[in-house]
C-alpha cells in the first residue's frame, strides 16, 4: 500500500516504514554548526574517516575517498579526530564561515571572521 496523506486513514498499517533505506531522504546537514573540510593534497587515502563516520557521509568511489556528503554530515568531528596526525587532511571550521555547501568541496579552512554568525 502507499501512503497517500498524513491523516490516520492514510498511514501504513502497523506504522511500517515502507520505503527501504529512506533515511537517505532525511537531510540532516542543516544540523551542523561545525563543518569538516577535506584537503585531498594531504589525504593518504587510509579511509579511517569513512570507517568511523557514524552518518555514512564520507564519499568513496573505486576504493578512494573523494569528498564529504554535506547533505547528511552533522559535523560531529569524528572524521577529523580519526584522520591520522601525519596526514591531518580534515579540519573542522565553523559552518557559518564555510563556502556554499557542495559534496566533495575542497574549500580550505577559512580564517574566522572576528564576529559571530
Amino acid at each position: 500500500m502507499t501512503t497517500t496523506g498524513n491523516g490516520w486513514k492514510d498511514l501504513p498499517i502497523g506504522a511500517v516504514i515502507e520505503k527501504a533505506g529512506n533515511a537517505r531522504e532525511y537531510l540532516t546537514g542543516d544540523w551542523r554548526t561545525m563543518r569538516p573540510v577535506w584537503d585531498p593534497e594531504k589525504c593518504i587515502q587510509c579511509l579511517f574517516c569513512w570507517v568511523y563516520c557514524p552518518d555514512a557521509s564520507i564519499l568513496v568511489k573505486d576504493g578512494k575517498m573523494i569528498g564529504i556528503n554535506y547533505e547528511h554530515c552533522k559535523g560531529c568531528g569524528i572524521c577529523a579526530a580519526e584522520c591520522p596526525k601525519r596526514a591531518s587532511a580534515i579540519t573542522m571550521i565553523r559552518e557559518s564561515d564555510a563556502d556554499a555547501p557542495s559534496a566533495g568541496s575542497t574549500s580550505a579552512a577559512a580564517t574566522g571572521k572576528g564576529g559571530a554568525c
Partner: protein, 393 residues
Amino acid sequence: MGKRVALTGNEAVALAMKQINPDVVAAYPITPQTEIVQYFSSFVSDGQVSTEMVRVESEHSAMSATIGASAGGARAMTATSSQGLALMHEMLHIASSYRLPIVMPVVNRALSGPINIHCDHSDTMSARDTGWIQLYSENAQEAYDNMFIAQRIAEHPDVLLPVMVCMDGFIISHSLENLNIEDDKLVKDFVGPYEPKQYLLDVKNPYTSGPLAMYDYYMELKRQQAEAMFTAKPIVQAISEEYGKLTGRHQGFFETYKLDDADIAVVVIGSTAGTARSAVDHLRAQGIKAGALKLRMFRPVPREEIIAALSPLKAVAVMDRADSYAGFGGPLFGDVRSWLYGTKCDLPVVNYVYGLGGRDVIMEDVLKVYDYLNKLVNHQVPLELVQYLGVRE
C-alpha cells in the same frame, strides 16, 4: 505556606523523596523520569540522605528490589514511566497483593508503539487494575504534596497498599514552575517514622511472605485485598485534609472549577486541567456556564462524590489522555460512565480521546470540546459518544 521556589516537576519530586529520606531506593533510568533518580543519587552521594541506593538492571528488577526491601522492613521507593512501568507489570500485582506500602512516582509517558517518549496516560491507565492506589498531579506543586500524602496513605495500617504518584511527562516533569516547599521538619513529622507491624527482618517474629494459594483460598485473599481499596477511600480524604490544614493546600478526590452552576463541563486528569480552567474562564466571559472537574484520585474511585458533582450538569465530556482500544473510548470514560449508570445522574456523557503521544493541547482545542457540549445541549448536533480530539482524518 512554605517557601516559594521555582523547580521542575522532577526536581520537586526528588526533593520530596529527599525529605522523606526512604531507607531504600531502587533505580533504573527511563525518560522522562530519569532525572528523579538522578537528582536523588546526588543527594545520596552528598550524604544528604541516608538512603541505600540500589542500581538495578531493569524496571522489573527495580520493583522486585523495592518489594524485597519493603517486605524486609524498609521504607522503599522507585520511580518509572511508560515502558518501565509496563516491564514491571507482574511485580505491580505482587506489591499490592503482598500489601506493601511502596510509593512510586510515575512520570506519565506514552506506551510504544510507535516509540514515543512524550506525555500521555496510557502507562498508568494500563496499570489501573493492579491494585495500586493512583493519585494524579496537575503540576509540580501537587506532585510534591502528593508524595507525602501518598506515604501516609500507603503505610496506614488499614490500607497497606502501594501508591502511584503520577505527573505528566515533559509538560510537568521538565517544566520549571513556582511551587511552595515545606521545611524538612514539617514534612518529616507529617510522614512520621515507618513502623511496620510485620517485616521479614524481624527475626523474633518470623513469617513467610508470598505463598501459593489454590482455588480454595485465592478468592478469599483477593476479596481481602479488595477490601483495602474500599477502606482506603475515606483514609485518603482524611490524610489529604490533615496535610491541607498543615500547609494550606487542600487536595480532595478531585477539584472542581466553576462547576456549581455549570451546564457543561469536562472531566480531566493532569496538566490539561489547567488549560481547561483557562477555557472555562474564556467561556464564562461570554456568558456560557462552563465548568471543569480535575480528577486527582483515580484508584480507588470516588464514585459517590463524582455522582454528586456531575448530577446538576446538562452534559459532560470525559477527556482521556489514553485509549482503551476496547472499541468504546478511553479508560476514564469507561469508568466514569459506569459509575453514573443507574443513578439520578443520567445526563449525556461523551468521550474525547486527546493528547496522545504528547500531542500539544492548547486552549482552543479544549474550547472545541465545550463547543460540542454546548451544541449537544441545544440539540444542534447528534450524540457522538466517542471522539478523537485534533486527530488528522
